[in-house]
Symmetry: D2
Subunit: 364 residues, 4 copies
């Protein structure tokens, strides 16, 4: 209950620090009989991997995942899947300064207050490096959801600082380093990022995630609503400060007649709900959007205090993402996959033999 | 794990349908020795209660809570606190129509798919009436947090459809039926609501919640971040479609130098983080904001289907809130209280004997 | 996590004190569509009820259970089932003495150390009266297991102090006040109990529980083995000091060739395993046995201390079971039912679509 | 919830198969600031290690544990502790026969029914090799309990087949390969085991575990009683078929006046309760006893069926413990340590600020 586990039936427990020996996780509750190899996870890990363009951190991690258990003769056995990724690029560095200072907007100060001790190397456990294991675990969920249920989960960057994607062309998403679905905005984003890097500053971003093919009925109606668990999962990603489902904050100014998604025998006429009604999936696409804050590691000096309470000026050198949002798309997809997988199993546990006579509405 | 429980150490499990015999809940894990009476809960219940102004539903529920266990000689004993509220205003009504139809934007269709059966009277379990128990349970958490830790949790309506509160005057919040902190906007809100009611339509709203006096160190750093659990808790409230912490979606366009809350020995210089860094409370106020969708129960006809898949036109008669956001303030406060209480106990469990030499920053 | 909840998918959370207003529980996760009425639970409650013979406590409780939610038009809806039993026979009594003393072998002393406060009326939360709710919840599980899976769960008293049942005639179990399956021993038990009552002393007992028709595959193989969860469930019943599965402690002196249950195409040749292999049900009957200690409430004086640490002599007056084991059979059956129900849903969640080609062995 | 995690606040999640790449576990919730090195765990692992005498399996595993995270500069940080042990002695072997057969009294048949697939190499996940990780995790709990609370946990073999230890001399326990506390019985045990090995058969055993110095107040009073969680933990060890606390099954024939542990200002006069009253520790030693069945892997042929349901004769060759109980002492100690650790944190979470005026009774 120290919160390193996510999920109730499909559970993912992670460990590892930025500059420790290794990252790892245990996936418990994966159904047996799923074909699974390291390659299935590696694809998603490579999409998240640092150092693949000049717009992300230049730390070079192979991020090679190894399966230690739970897979036999190429298939999952239903027993826990142990995964590890060794940390390889831990530059030797002088930590004497950072060990005494609290970097503004980082977790240094709060870890010190919580635990009285902290691994200050690269942020230790608070580093976003931990999300590599979420991506690996999410890949397992994603594969099951795709193969058994035909669910497809995809994300994209919809806004980089002031620049908004105006088109959603899924084919473009992997054609540029930003996961941007609007080819016309890529050049603008590139020059924006180049200027930002020169300046030494950083910027926020917005990521959207969509799951298509989700059957109606997933989600528990009170506290563990599908959208509540999704909000939990997405807000738990480093740097996320806001989560929306469907119309999101736009619904504040909507009237009821506008917001309600009317139904016809041919399907829903709109999707303001983002695919969730009363906490349960409706069969429409699940649509979520998140806001990521700008990176706090900057070479522009910031005021702070040291561990004794004295004022200091903090400058962060080293290799950092000027926009953490850029690499967040695979992470958001992974968390969406884990939530859907978990709720699918939970639903099957309680309602596995329910026969529903109500027709499933087609998508319009 | 059917999701009717919230919390890990301070756990709240609710039951009850809109038109069933009673609502109830069990609070487990409450520390012993807290002075507690029904009156402590009744105050918050009365703030949420329907029928207190012409702007909310005219259903008249006494909402009188009874303590059935866990309190002895006026104090909590550490054993589970059983609570019930009897439903008194269940108008006899002809449900034959609604039992066959799916109201748009309601949970009717999704419950049918999940369970194959549903209590269609007043929305059954999906009714926001369930939130009465959250308010009762939240009152217990709130009292502990106030008395033992000096934490104060308060909320307000910051936007009603297009009308935004522009001032935050806490004294005003309980002077009007909207929980609006800006006296200058109340008249405008009243006429807006009167027009809306005539029209037969409904509108969304935004609620902000603030917790002051939260000590640094609460929250578990990975999946159960304080903000992630808060997002879970707030998104689980009926009609909520978005959750922000601190700068929220505003951080997308912020630069790092602007967003990062610098620290001086006198305190933090800003609170874009909303009081949470790396998932752990920083000692600054915890600030969250939520978007609530417009009520879906409208007397303006909407297209839908019946249980056999035939097209129908749905008109909702009866007593409904044209803006569910209006009564949501006490609910949001309650969920904030429950989250903080739970994390306080979790933190004490793991780190109860940690001695921290780092100074606590004052508030600026 | 204060431990008033049992189960992971089929969860039972209870509240209530011996002399409080009411006992209650919430059953969460019950599958929808199960026909359920109060009568289904009342049967089992009546079997556990005090005051039905001269051999049990003369406290007269109606133990009438009321369903407050989760059942609609006679069927479960999949939402939480709220239950209450009002306490009716709370004799007004002078508690001044007992409030200051710790009764030997009771929980008075340990509650005082844990919580610093205790409801001393009739043992408060530590009273076995709490088990009434387990029996009610167990009846729901039992009905599902019987109707959907053909599982039958039955218990009996196999030993009362020095007197052992030597025959297992299921038809006899409900023909006597002891749940004794051996008609030849009933007279002996009656005179033993009569003598004991005169003496003012109490005695221990052994209860066996058997579940037939359990399909192979239930139970999670490592920590949540079916037998481990069963041990947890049974040891959590008041007064239980030991739990055995299958051969139990007898296996210490067994050789491997004797203990191992050989298999033939016609079925298993023995059941030393008690129906559980590697923590998973084998399809053989699940067989468990528990030891219950003698009641500690005696009118024979016992040495103890008061809340200030002074020596006192404690005499317990009032109405008590001289052998708590006598009424424990329905409770043990209920806990067995809850465990099996929970594991059935857990198994279906993870492995609901597994196709098994291995033949199911018949019972020999 | 597939049951590979134990504990609520101090949680241990394990993975790994007998013949897979590695075993591992994640300990979550360990308090920060505890000095910890691999050596702390290695001591207990070495006590459990196979191949240390002729009386246990000759499989030679180094069982070297590596800490991958959660420890920084020699102290725990409060973040998850990742551990691995690589499997080194996986003899290449022909598995074609065993892959098609179900060994009697093993989990082969039940795994096949649960998952439809199984790793048949050395029993896969059902192998007792998994308990190495429990021992490693238990060592962490044990160290905390010893250093911070002065709790000492020790176990011993009290019976090997028909041979019972008659003296409890703790100094003897580690002087012989059996963990036998009675030096006079060691020779008898050695010849018994030698004869058994020749014969090709196996035998059961009884292990006792005792925790001294446990403060009063640990344990949650209803389902998660200290003794119920202990029963869960101990019954989850491979081969265990029975668990007793205190007088255990002996209490069946005890009278109340005999069983109840009277109290005087100087202390309790006996410990039939085994240190637990009403599910909560009393301050007396916690005493538990378990029965372990004889090993099922025998070279004496046994009747069984193959995966197609045909009759077969199974002979198990290879390296096996003729008495699994012999190596079980450190495992039982580890599970006791994990249970106490978890309950200490749970107690501190809910009741961390309770002031108790009741005197703590000394031990007599």
């Amino acid at each position: 209950m120290s919160g390193n586990t996510f999920g109730k039936l499909f559970t993912v427990t992670t460990f590892g620090e930025s500059h420790g020996a290794a990252l790892g996780c245990i996936i418990d509750g994966c159904p047996p009989g799923l074909e699974l190899s390291e390659e299935d996870m590696q694809q998603d890990l490579d999409r998240r991997k640092p150092g693949t363009s000049r717009h992300t951190t230049q730390r070079r991690e192979a991020d090679e995942v190894k399966i230690l258990s739970g897979v036999f003769e190429g298939k999952t056995t239903g027993t826990p899947i142990g995964l590890v990724i060794e940390n390889t690029d831990q530059r030797s560095k002088d930590y004497s300064k950072i060990s005494e200072q609290f970097r503004p907007a980082h977790a240094d100060y709060t870890y010190a207050h919580k635990y009285g001790i902290r691994d200050y190397r690269g942020g230790g456990r608070s580093s976003a490096r931990e999300t590599a294991m979420r991506v690996a675990a999410g890949a397992v969920a994603r594969k099951f959801l795709e193969q058994r249920l035909g669910i497809r989960i995809r994300g994209y960057l919809s806004q980089l600082g002031p620049i908004k994607a105006e088109k959603l062309d899924w084919d473009q998403v992997h054609q540029n380093p930003f996961f941007c679905p609007d080819a016309d905005k890529v050049a603008e984003m590139e020059s924006y990022m180049d200027a930002l890097r020169k300046e030494g500053d950083s910027i926020g971003a917005r990521i959207n995630v969509v799951a298509e093919g989700v059957p109606p009925g997933l989600g528990e109606p009170i506290f563990d609503r599908l959208d509540a668990d999704l909000a939990h999962a997405l807000m738990s990603i480093n740097a996320v400060k806001g989560v929306e489902v469907g119309a999101g904050f736009g619904c504040i100014e909507q009237k009821g007649t506008e917001h309600r998604d009317e139904m016809t025998p041919e399907g829903f006429l709109s999707n303001n709900a983002g695919g969730v009604l009363g906490g349960i999936s409706s069969g429409q696409p699940i649509v979520a959007s998140i806001a990521l804050k700008p990176t706090s590691s900057l070479r522009l000096p910031g005021r702070s205090i040291d561990v004794h309470g004295n004022p200091v000026e903090v400058i962060t050198t080293g290799r950092h993402d000027p926009c953490v949002g850029i690499r967040a798309t695979p992470i958001a997809e992974a968390m969406m996959a884990i939530v859907l997988m978990d709720h699918y199993l939970r639903h099957r546990g309680q309602n596995g033999d329910v026969e529903v006579s109500t027709p499933v509405l087609g998508q319009l």
